[in-house]
Symmetry: none
Subunit: 210 residues, 4 copies
Amino acid sequence: MTSASPSGRRTGRPRSAEADRAILDATRAALVELGWGKLTLGDVASRAGVAKTTLYRRWAGKSELVVDAVAALFDEHLELPDRGGLQADIEGVVLQFAALLERPETKTALMAVVAESTRDDALRARIRSAIVDRQKTLVLLGRERAQARGELPHESDPGAADRNADLIFDVIAGTVLHRTLVSAESVDAEWARSFAALVVGGLASVGTLP
Amino acid sequence: MTSASPSGRRTGRPRSAEADRAILDATRAALVELGWGKLTLGDVASRAGVAKTTLYRRWAGKSELVVDAVAALFDEHLELPDRGGLQADIEGVVLQFAALLERPETKTALMAVVAESTRDDALRARIRSAIVDRQKTLVLLGRERAQARGELPHESDPGAADRNADLIFDVIAGTVLHRTLVSAESVDAEWARSFAALVVGGLASVGTLP
Amino acid sequence: MTSASPSGRRTGRPRSAEADRAILDATRAALVELGWGKLTLGDVASRAGVAKTTLYRRWAGKSELVVDAVAALFDEHLELPDRGGLQADIEGVVLQFAALLERPETKTALMAVVAESTRDDALRARIRSAIVDRQKTLVLLGRERAQARGELPHESDPGAADRNADLIFDVIAGTVLHRTLVSAESVDAEWARSFAALVVGGLASVGTLP
Amino acid sequence: MTSASPSGRRTGRPRSAEADRAILDATRAALVELGWGKLTLGDVASRAGVAKTTLYRRWAGKSELVVDAVAALFDEHLELPDRGGLQADIEGVVLQFAALLERPETKTALMAVVAESTRDDALRARIRSAIVDRQKTLVLLGRERAQARGELPHESDPGAADRNADLIFDVIAGTVLHRTLVSAESVDAEWARSFAALVVGGLASVGTLP
DNA sequence: TATTAACCGAGACGGTACGTCGGGTCTTGTA
DNA sequence: TACAAGACCCGACGTACCGTCTCGGTTAATA
């Protein structure tokens, strides 16, 4: 008897991990060269040296593939180094996020998959778990640090705390996104300083209210 | 600036204004039913009772058509009623913008055309002039009113004033956009109040700094 | 009023007769080069300088297209020159038919479409009207001539006459087909003479029976 | 002559004879259900409860497999019972051959593999040895019997005798094939009688010629 | 009022990509 | 070594849209 792995497939040739990697790399390269609109799955497959069927066996379509391809970039490039103070931490994450959004593959892909996700719940869930929620942990971590430093009070009502974190997350991510992709202007250190000051000021004033 | 465009055509049958209207209406209807991704120009044409030729004579492609179709909604539905105070004005515009973004045609279209525009300068310019700049005037108007009420100081340096308005615009538009489309959560009066308080608090604290 | 062609399409761009011709030519060329098995409609289209859609607008599939393409060859190359006697006429048509079946495009195509037609009634009808029935008229014409010459009696029962013609048709066409494609041996003048003698002898002996 | 083919493999697991049988049965079943055109080797393998590898180890492709599958039917169902006279013997073999060709698996397969064989010499050889030559022995046997009965003379020139047998074979097999598959009409006893009469009459008249 | 140039609908056209299917090969674990 | 399973590469399938191009026919400003 032995084995009987509960869910896993047991027989047949196993899927090639090499192929997975090659496909995601090819997807990012194609995004850089062609952008979302002109990217085709046939082209991705041939760049990856892989048959189209191999690609479709793993991903249901362009959107799902691109989400996974750019999610890896978010994992690699977003972190929250401790800069010693709340405003400096915010500046840091803003600059990091902006740098990510200015990469050609991210810039062209992120808005597109979000647009698709407005009509596709499964895709939205995938974006949320692969990209959005991971960014949000940075906000939570930043708050913890600020509270440890005494820069922010400990919130007594946990519901209010969550709402507050969500708000701050939308403010930071949304503002940088809009600046970068809609206004199409670059984020430099000075802009990051101004924006972080605004947020910190806002937090301070809100914190004083009951 | 009367009429008589010097090089304009003079003879022949003029274009049907009826057709323009029918096409834009059909575009919005198709966006609601199908979303950006599944919208096809052939379908728009047949909904509008119009030949594809007629459509292509007026718009270069899907993106341009959709920008014009949703721009009309922005023109119709965005304004800045005077609610008597800066924070209330911000709350009002936030709720209005959120309501617009929750319409199915806007939700699916706006991110998509922005995504396309990351690779197409002409499209970006069209979006800017047809949609973005018109929203920005609301920010400028709001500032004027707040200054007239004495809620905000007059900025002496015009460059700094512009930068400030741009920042506030990115904060407001970006946050609402992110909340609505990325976080996919609705904007209610309470959220609008919290967010507006944050912005006003931030503005106050920044205003006090040199 | 005037026109109103009852069934014909009136509006829109008319179909290109040039395309029809180019597609059939390309089909024959591809049959020669590749044979039935390796012939693809995409390749035919590109040889013809035509889009695949143009091809599919006219023909439902490979079989239908090939039937039409080879039918044209039958029309061009089968006739019944009067050689002055029944046996000589049969020899002539046998040689002609064999020459047709030895062309590479016919050889590879005819059996293939007949094979397909065993499962497709519409295809069988198409083959019958485009190819088979036209050959059969040669048999009927040959009989008329032979009767005019006094070589064959006039059949009094029309049903028996039809059955007889069908039989002779199956004998002639079938034997040549089998010799050429199944036995895969060539048909020369001597073989044609032997075969025609057999048929004429058989006819004579049958004719003497009640 | 038992086994022990000199160069044959000796070690390892021997091939399953069960699998061979299951594959050929599955092939015939699939031919009946799907016809040649829609028959796929993957489907045959799964019907047979066998991996595709196992199938490809034994046959090079669809054509070869189908030739073997239908050849078995020819072996089973063709024989030449002695009916006491040349014409009756011919009628018998005609009816038998026609019955075979009216089976769905034979009907759809035979023309298809012959069509393939026009471009594939190895396949043609396989068809010849597995199917055609076995039918031809019936013709030779029939001639022997007729000569024994005194219905046909002994041919002095062996070359002419071979040519004659080939001709009669093409006439009989070809005519039945054409009647059944091209004309798509059934072969009944009366048609068989007419046709056999024609052949016997032809043979008689030819026999009298030098 | 007649001319005439630009418009209009319909739909065929050459393309490109789609997502699926089948062919034949290869790579697992098991017998 | 064979076997079942199933992933692999390849190439064709038939469809859908793209944006362009004829068609025959209409319409309004101009001459």
